[in-house]
Amino acid sequence: MTEQDKKQPQLQDEESGGIPFYPLHFMKEVMVVTAVLLVILALSIFFPAGLQEAADSFSTPEHIKPEWVFLAMYQLLKYVPQGVAFGNVTYLNLFVAATGILGLAVAALPFLDRSPHTMARKRPLFLALGLLALALFVVFTYLGHFSGARDPIFGMLIP
C-alpha cells in the first residue's frame, strides 16, 4: 500500500475495475429515468394535483395536515404538553431545541461514528440507531396520516 492508500483506504478500488460510465452505465441511467418519468406521468394523469377553496383567514379547517415528509413531526408535536416548563421556556421551546440538536447530530454523524468499519453489522450501535430512527419515522408518519380518524390496521382512534 502506498502512503496515499493508507490515508484513503476506500479510494483504492476506484481505478482498478468497473464499467465505463458512458455509454454502458449511461444506458442504464436512461432506462431508470424513463421508468421514473412513466411513474410520474401515471400518477399525474390518474391523481392530478388538487386545489381546495381559496385561502380564508377567518375559517379554520378542522384537520390541517402538512405534506407527508412533515407528518411524523406534526404527529410528534401533538404529544408535546402545552404551557411553561420553567421560567419563560415552554415545552414547545424544548421540543424545537431538541429537534435542532438532533439535526446537528445528523450533520455531525461522520464525527460521531468514528469506527473504521463501514459494514452495518460491524457497528451495531449505529445500525440500531438507524433502524430505530427509520422505524419511528415510519410509525409516526402512519399515525400522522390517520390522525383524527381510525387507522385501517388496528382500528384505533388516533389523536
Partner: protein, 248 residues
C-alpha cells in the same frame, strides 16, 4: 469474430444481438462526441479529450440498484426546475391573484394541469428519493473518512429539499396552503432565542399574509434554487474527486 470496440476485444462472448447493439451504441456515441457534436467547436477549443476522459470514467462493479436514488433525485430536481419555470409563466404571486392563477393553470391553460401535477408528484417523489439515498449512505457507512464533507453537503441538500417543499406548499394559496403554513411556521416561531425573529422573517408580520406569499415565492423560485445548485455542484464534485464508496 467478436467485434473490436475501442481497439479491445470484449472479454467474453455475449449473445450476438446484444453485442451488436452495444457495438453500435458505443460507436455512435463516442464518435459523435469526438467528431460530430464537437467537430467545429473542438478544432478551436480542443474539448473532446477531456469530455471523452470524463465519459469513459469507470463506474465500480459493486454499484447496484441501491445506488440509484441520488441520481434519481437529481433527475427529479431537473424535472422540477423545468416544470417550475413553466408554472411561473402563468402563476401570479400575490394574495389576490395566486389562487385564481393556479385555478386558471388547472382549468384553462393547455396541459397546465399536467405540468402542475408533474411538479407536485416529482416533488413528493424527490422527498422520498432523498430519504432513500440518505438511508443507503447511512447503512453503507459511506459518510466515513474521507467523505465527511460530502455527508454534510448532503444534510444541507436535505434541508433545502424540505425548505422547497415547505415554501411551495403555500403558493397555491388555498385553504390547505394557508393553514398548513400557519401551523407550520409555529415551529420555527418556537425556536429558543431567535423564535420571534424567525416568525417575523418567515411570515413578514404576525400573521400569514400576502407578504408571506411574496417571501415564500422568492425563496422557492430564486434563493433556494441558487443555493441548491451550489450545493449540488459541490456534492457531485466531491463524488468525482473521491469516487463511489465501497462497503467493507
Amino acid at each position: 469474430m467478436p467485434e473490436e470496440v475501442n481497439g479491445k476485444t470484449p472479454r467474453r462472448k455475449e449473445n450476438s444481438i446484444t453485442a451488436q447493439l452495444r457495438g453500435i451504441w458505443r460507436r455512435i456515441s463516442l464518435e459523435a462526441v469526438g467528431a460530430v457534436v464537437y467537430g467545429g467547436v473542438d478544432r478551436r477549443l480542443e474539448l473532446s479529450d477531456a469530455i471523452e476522459h470524463a465519459l469513459k470514467h469507470k463506474v465500480p462493479r459493486h454499484v447496484n440498484w441501491t445506488y440509484c436514488f441520488g441520481g434519481i433525485t437529481f433527475f427529479l430536481f431537473l424535472v422540477l426546475a423545468a416544470t417550475g419555470i413553466l408554472l411561473t409563466l402563468y402563476y401570479r404571486p400575490s394574495s389576490s391573484d395566486a389562487y385564481e392563477s393556479v385555478k386558471y393553470i388547472m382549468n384553462d391553460v393547455r396541459f397546465g394541469w399536467l405540468i402542475r401535477s408533474i411538479h407536485h408528484w416529482a416533488a413528493n417523489l424527490m422527498a422520498f428519493t432523498v430519504l432513500a439515498h440518505m438511508v443507503r449512505v447511512y447503512f453503507h457507512g459511506a459518510y466515513k473518512h474521507p467523505r465527511e464533507l460530502n455527508w454534510i453537503a448532503g444534510v444541507f441538500l436535505l434541508a433545502l429539499t424540505l425548505a422547497f417543499g415547505f415554501t411551495g406548499y403555500l403558493l397555491p394559496w388555498d385553504q390547505k396552503a394557508y393553514w398548513g403554513t400557519t401551523v407550520g411556521t409555529r415551529m420555527p416561531a418556537a425556536m429558543p432565542f431567535i423564535g420571534d425573529f424567525m416568525k417575523l422573517f418567515l411570515r413578514g408580520g404576525d400573521e400569514v399574509t400576502g407578504r408571506t406569499l411574496s417571501r415564500f415565492y422568492s425563496l422557492h423560485v430564486v434563493i433556494l434554487p441558487m443555493v441548491t445548485t451550489f450545493f449540488l455542484a459541490a456534492h457531485f464534485a466531491m463524488i468525482r474527486r473521491q469516487g463511489i464508496s465501497k462497503p467493507m
